[in-house]
């Protein structure tokens, strides 16, 4: 069967610094790939490169989505093909209601969203619809609430591949369970998921995991084994770049 996403020999250099090197990864329909690794190892950069964000243009290798090379495509084009990204720190939108925000992705794909859809999506992320629909997606919502609303918008958008950058950071334990359920929803819809995470609970929904160290894939395999390796056996890399990365905690 055709793979949903194939990343081949991907390199990314930013500010003359090698951020990602020789990345090879696959994601199938209905499969959750967890990406783990220390702070500053390049997890978010990988997410941004797949999404095609400005400033994250790859320097080598290929990204194939449903068999087609997409590295020349803009963010919008990639989204229209069925890729989306949930940021670790969701943006705030002054004057944009939750109702409007939730419909954006579906509308861009030419699908209309009705009240029933909105209620369903918010209930899925454990947000009470009639309390939130008319509020704005601004800083009156907590970071955790905005994260869950972002997930709801993705449920409505129905992409084929969703990249979740630390969906578990800054949310409480109850919400954590709920995010696991939402990821299972994505799976059931045959969507592929790239799940960047630091949490063991989240790993339970993953089918496989990749450990990134200093911008390189260290190993790929069973989520628990890869995570255990990372926790108990991973010796700090010799790579001097990596030692520098270890000091970086800006993403925490």
């Amino acid at each position: 069967m055709q793979k949903l996403l194939e990343i081949r020999d991907l390199d990314l250099t930013l500010d003359k610094e090698r951020i990602l090197q020789n990345i090879n990864l696959d994601v199938n329909h209905g499969e959750v790939l967890a990406v783990i690794g220390p702070n500053g190892c390049g997890k978010s950069s990988l997410a941004y490169t797949i999404m095609g964000l400005k400033g994250y243009e790859q320097n080598g290798g290929g990204i194939f989505f449903k068999g087609k090379e997409i590295s020349e495509l803009s963010v919008t084009e990639r989204a229209k093909k069925g890729i989306t990204l949930a940021w670790q720190e969701p943006a705030r939108f002054e004057g944009v209601s939750v109702r409007e925000f939730l419909s954006i992705g579906a509308k861009a794909k030419g699908r209309n969203i009705d009240n029933k859809d909105l209620d369903w999506a918010l209930n899925e992320v454990a947000i009470i619809p009639n309390k939130y629909l008319d509020r704005n997606v601004d800083d009156t919502l907590s970071g955790g609430e905005r994260k869950r609303i972002e997930l709801a918008s993705i449920l409505l958008m129905k992409p084929d591949l969703v990249i979740l950058d630390e969906p578990d950071s800054g949310v409480d334990v109850v919400a954590l369970n709920n995010i696991g359920d939402v990821i299972n929803d994505f799976k059931n819809e045959q969507m592929g998921v790239i799940l960047i995470t630091h949490s063991d609970e989240m790993l339970e929904v993953a089918d496989k995991a990749a450990l990134i160290c200093g911008g390189e894939i260290f190993n790929v395999g069973n989520p628990q084994e890869v995570s255990d390796y990372f926790k108990y056996q991973c010796i700090p890399c010799e790579d001097e770049d990596f030692e520098k990365h270890q000091g970086v905690s800006s993403n925490e």
Partner: protein, 312 residues
Amino acid sequence: MNDYEMMVDAYKKAGGEDVFSNSDTAHMVLEQDKILGKHEVEGLEINAEKIKTNTIDVKLRIKKGYQIKNPVHMCFGVLPKEGLQKILMDVNIEKDAYAKIMSDCVFPNATEVKHVMKANIHLGSNAHYEYEENHFHGKTGGVEVVAKSNIEMDEGSEILTLFTLRKGRVGKIDFDYEADLAENAKVEMLTRISGYEDDQVKIREAARLNGRNARGLLDSKIAMADNAKAEVYNELTANAPDAKGHVDCTEIIKDNAIARAVPIVEVSHPEAKVTHEAAIGSVDSDQLQTLMARGLDEEEASDLIIQGLLKG
């Protein structure tokens, strides 16, 4: 269609509500120097008179203690491509009275239209006045608006003004609003403008918090694209105990647009306090990328962000 019908039609096309046939709602419709329609309700008096070519004198009074339930609709406009409309306005909201006025200014065909408004507004003690002015200037940019208001506020009175121009061209706008506040009075002036091509916006809003515990908020949100220019002067002075004010100016620019924000804050009493915030920049790239990752192109994304900002 006669002039009245054409004005109402232009107004509705611009998104205005159909209130002109409702007998519970006071209204007035002026086209250039013609008084096309006028309706009063109990407690409210409107007198309009043409005092010379292109000039209309309007006196609006809300009688002492009256609370006018429905917003009063005033529709100003110039229908031909060219023309001058000068309005001299006297507004008197008497003691303990309340009214909300929605002014809609429509210049749908303008290539060279000038609209001048000079207003003197007086609020009696504990009077409460809301004024919302929405402009629809068409797409040619041939409108020039010059508006000057002097607002006198007696103790405990409150005024909220909202000026919006969110769609279509600005042309040229030159505003100058001044308010003097007595004890416990409160002013909020909100401005939401989006401009493009070679639109020009100049706004001066000044509030003097002269009385004890007076409150002032000057809040402008402006989005300029292409070669548009915006200058916002917000002046807030506080010279009485417990007087408090805040100036907030957000301007988003695109392309070659230029924005300038000049907050002037002056405090001359040790127990008064005024704060200010100004932010000028382009559309936030995190917001843009989020929307683009949902499938909007850059233009659609930035429109959505700007319309949101202007709603806020």
